[in-house]
Amino acid sequence: MSLRGAAAIVGIAELPTQRTNPGRSSLGLIADVTREVIKDAHIRKEDIDGIVTEGDSTFPAMAVEYLGLQNIRFGSGTSMMGASGATAIAHAASAVTNGFANYVLVVMGFARNPAIVPPPEGDGGMGGELEQPYGPAAGANTGYAMMYVRHMAEYGTKPEQLARLAANQRFNAQENPNSAFQGQPITVEDVLNSRYVNYPIRLLECVMPCGGAAAAIVTTADRARASLNKPAYLLGAGFGVKAGAEWQMDNLTTTPVARSAPTAFAMSGYTPRDIEFAEFYDCYTILESLCLEDSGLVPKGEIGPFFESTDTTYKGEFPINTDGGQLSSGQPNLAGGFRHVIEGARQIMGKAGARQVARNDLCLVNG
């Protein structure tokens, strides 16, 4: 059995991404975005009988309680970090395809309200013992910087090539009212002149932590055909998981997309050449670049020349991250990775307004 065409997204919603949400909680934002997605999908709250959350900061039961959902027959928390959003859609599709539920709410939100202190992360890993004494850089920058150095050393990739990615996505964000960076275009030179946070990562190659929320409704293909929206059908999916600490990876320039993408393409019956536009996880320019290579959209090691020769804006020959992505919209924690699913569906559904891509039948999303 395959998921190909068996399920679809029939409703989407997204709150504006912004630096913080004073007076708000993450569950409060989740309630707001759920109210909107119910409206967009033209269903009733009572129709929701499944839920998928990111499972790290919001457990399914917490959302079910806060939202007052009474009919839940399927629940899952993905715990896949940045990949939680894309993973959640595949879980939801599996659930409706197997009859566990009919309408699955996928919802993620993060307020980033400084008055609400999140519980300590305590990953139980080795960071405190073997990394912190040596002074890692801020956030997740350390591992990605080490990947970036290896890609430059192995393939000759240059920062000025990856800066194009950042500038093109910022161009796209100018047409996204939900972006925290609307009205703030940047050039390649701006990226290259921004300060090092930690070499080789410059400020404009990192996401900005933000608050926000997003939601989607997934249902069976039969029900989707009756939707008032143009459905976004799931044609294939695949997964990959790497070691948590980058220094425990055998190869710093290959991501788990090398495993997830072939599974998804095989299920779908399409190849990378068929893809018309892409929405890819982009916490850093380098990570997005590695994933684009590993997906098969760009040959391994050739991401630099690709960005030199390809217009990846929403107007271009191969649009990437048409809403600006996380780099140019902001990263509302784990809802940040979910934005790529939402924007892919939005484009397929023809709801992208001024940034609507010309060819919108086949999108590759990476969470």
């Binding site: 002074g135 350390t142 990947m147 050393a153 090092y196 930690n198 710093l252």
Partner: protein, 153 residues
């Protein structure tokens, strides 16, 4: 050595009993890592089963302390402000000649020279810093006379 060391010392990870001999060896200024008798390979970090073959049959092995710089980041904005006075500095992923990789700092260098990928594969030797009476950190220093011949990948 001072007990007023102001930066973080190691805090317990997954199983501090398993890693303690690594730190004990560092205190003796020796680099010791697990060697698996199931697959005859060194590994790091220390864990209850070999990450290559999952065998629990491994023992501690004192290694050469020689390594090469696999990758790094030159830190201008540390995650922990206790490192701010030292910026920029080199936070490194090193590959031991025996195979395993570990995290440390490259010291006794001008970090502003570590802003180009051509530093990959720089030959390194372990340096043991007794930061408190309890803790010795393992850091890395370029090997001068091997500097030209170390790029062997």
């Amino acid at each position: 050595m001072t007990s007023e060391y102001a930066k973080p010392v190691p805090t317990a990870g997954i199983n501090p009993e398993i890693t303690q001999p690594f730190w004990d060896a560092a205190k003796r200024h020796e680099l010791s890592v697990p060697y698996c008798s199931g697959c005859n390979r060194h590994f790091f970090y220390p864990r209850e089963a070999c990450p290559n073959c999952l065998s629990p049959d491994w023992s501690w092995s004192t290694v050469s302390g020689k390594a090469r710089l696999y990758s790094w980041t030159t830190v201008f904005q540390p995650g922990d402000t206790r490192f701010s006075e030292e910026t920029p500095y080199v936070y490194a992923m090193v590959q031991l000649d025996e195979g395993p990789r570990m995290i440390g700092n490259v010291i006794d260098v001008d970090a502003n020279h570590y802003l180009s990928p051509d530093k990959v594969n720089t030959r390194l030797e372990a340096v043991f810093e007794d930061v408190t009476p309890e803790w010795t950190l393992v850091k890395w220093r370029p090997i001068e006379d091997e500097a030209k011949s170390g790029r062997d990948e």
